[in-house]
Symmetry: C2
Subunit: 347 residues, 2 copies
């Protein structure tokens, strides 16, 4: 048998990305790689003259640091995973935009993915993101599969659950109370003299937050001694879904003087249906939504809705994470950012 341990020159073909490496920068600047790394990571620690030389070498070579190598060496990447139910609808887009903007200008890379309101997809996404050794994870809502929670706890990183502040956060919750939002809008409708208020939502088994708004609605009508009617549509919210939903209620001759939709998209669909049928809004039927999307202020009539603190959630989440990354540890565990009732003409 040949001596396995015999040291011999390695003749293997080596790989390599062909990219400019920190080593080349160091050589050109006439310093060590440690110094280059320091210039890039903690600029204060290096003298101005060396830092200048390093920076010009970086420019001259067009050096782009390899984040994989950096993340591997540092045992933690400069990424933050963000999981939302859907980027298709614009509810979360404002939050993500704000959050990504703030984090990326602080030097962090946001990975985002959407679950399409499925716990299984959420679990898969969380797992995929954890493979990047993220510095933090941001999820939407407080309900997750058992395994998702286990993975997140095991990762020992800051976890923000946004868009909700009810009980049971893994780590930090930043959002507002959907139950309060539902109650608040319903109370407003009752004050306006509405007595037969119907709540319409979509896939509320999956969309927990819509379900909580429905709960708030239920509390409010019940407290006022009025009947509660909750319709849960079987497919995802869309403008196209709102019309048929209203049409169905009319066909079934459900007594109603207000339609409270679980979001503006459904509400817009219902509004269009009213136009088609010549139902006067709000005289014959009040319509209210949730979300205060782009069109809510300019549709006909303008939509009474609830404005969630979309951007504030992103801003607060970014601030919280950056503080944690900076070592601050005693931070609030739950931040309720409230919401605004936007009273317009539809209700």
């Amino acid at each position: 048998m040949r001596a396995r341990t015999a040291p011999k020159p390695d003749s293997r073909l080596r790989r390599g990305s062909g990219r400019v490496t920190m080593d080349e920068v160091a050589r050109l600047a006439g310093v060590s790689t440690s110094t280059v790394s320091r210039v890039l990571r903690e600029p204060g620690a290096v003298s101005d003259s060396l830092a200048g030389r390093v920076r010009s070498a970086v420019d001259r070579l067009g050096y782009v640091p390899n984040l994989m190598a950096g993340g591997l060496a540092a045992a933690r990447g400069r990424t933050v995973g963000v999981v939302v139910p859907s980027i298709l609808n614009s509810f979360f887009a404002g939050t993500i935009d704000t959050l990504s903007g703030l984090l990326s200008s602080a030097g962090w890379q946001v990975l985002d993915g959407s679950t399409d309101y499925s716990e299984a997809r959420e679990e898969a996404l969380v797992e995929a993101f954890l493979a990047w050794s993220p510095a933090a994870m941001v999820l939407t809502g407080l309900r997750h599969s058992e395994r998702t929670v286990r993975l997140l706890r095991a990762a020992r990183i800051p976890v923000v659950e946004m868009w909700d502040v009810s009980e049971g956060a893994i780590d930090i919750a930043i959002g507002f109370s959907h139950r309060a939002a539902g109650r608040s809008m319903t109370q407003y409708l009752i004050e306006k003299g509405r007595r037969r208020i119907v709540f319409v939502g979509a896939i509320m088994t999956s969309d927990q937050r819509a379900a909580q708004r429905a709960e708030g609605y239920r509390e409010a009508v019940t407290a006022a001694g009025l009947p509660a009617t909750v319709i849960d549509l079987p497919s995802r919210s869309s403008v196209a879904l709102g019309g048929p939903a209203l049409a169905d209620l009319l066909v079934r001759q459900v007594e109603m003087d207000a339609l409270y939709c679980s979001n503006d998209v459904l509400a817009l669909g219902a509004l269009f249906e009213c136009q088609r049928r010549g139902i006067a809004v709000p005289q014959h039927l009040s319509i209210a939504g949730f979300g205060d999307l782009d069109f809510a202020a300019s549709c006909v009539p303008p939509l009474t809705t609830i404005r969630p603190p979309r951007e504030a959630i992103g801003r607060e989440t970014a601030a919280m994470l950056l503080a944690r990354f900076a070592g601050q540890t005693h931070l609030r565990r739950a931040v309720d950012l409230g919401f605004d009732l936007q009273i317009r003409r539809s209700a």
Copy 2:
């Protein structure tokens, strides 16, 4: 001076992420790390019995591969960077959703980011993504800063430019002709007897594709001997912007019998303005859009628009990239997926 070269035991504190590593899996399964790696990467190459042992060890330990380490070793990560102008509007969301879905189920991670229609932000994003050694990059449109193009060429990876198929792609272009789309819709309006067609767009210096649709519009009206009027609004498209834009045209008493909006969002705003003013659509004014967004089919009246191959672009891009990753090299350089004229009641 002390002997620098003297080999002495390293007593440094080491770090480590604390995560389960491939080594632990290998030890538990009683195989080498090579085998574990193979089971995960090319399952066919390992015998069933070993593969089974490895897989159960993976499950038992809850092993999640560290993609940083993997990407570093392989000199190329399993990521694909995707850059779109905006995730806020739903134009690109359908494409991204499709693309991410297909790539992620094939084991690739999509990084996406939005430029907000700014070339400078695009450049920054491309640079940030390249730091991840992506296996490919996907951009929107064909116009980019010189440096962006240089960085992309230097990366020597597949680059897809989507949503456009005019000249000058860096590598692969997948989309459709916006000029043809603009021409097509305008010709339809002319066929319908419209003679004073006004085109309204927003930030068309930045939104090249809208500008190309305007160009197509110009060609068509000019060919028909009709006057061309192009309005370029100074802020980003929104429903709220469409109303005032129409109002302004009316105040200025611009002669017009059709309003061709650069997208459905503006068109919806205009439609609402017509409702407010009691302008009959399409009798007094035809309104056409672009995008075939959610609401286009259900608004009142339903919107005549152009349906871009949103999902097909995502599907084709994913297919093209996966083929490239699999080693196929002689692939088409440009794929024109066409578009559909959706004729509804608004025009």
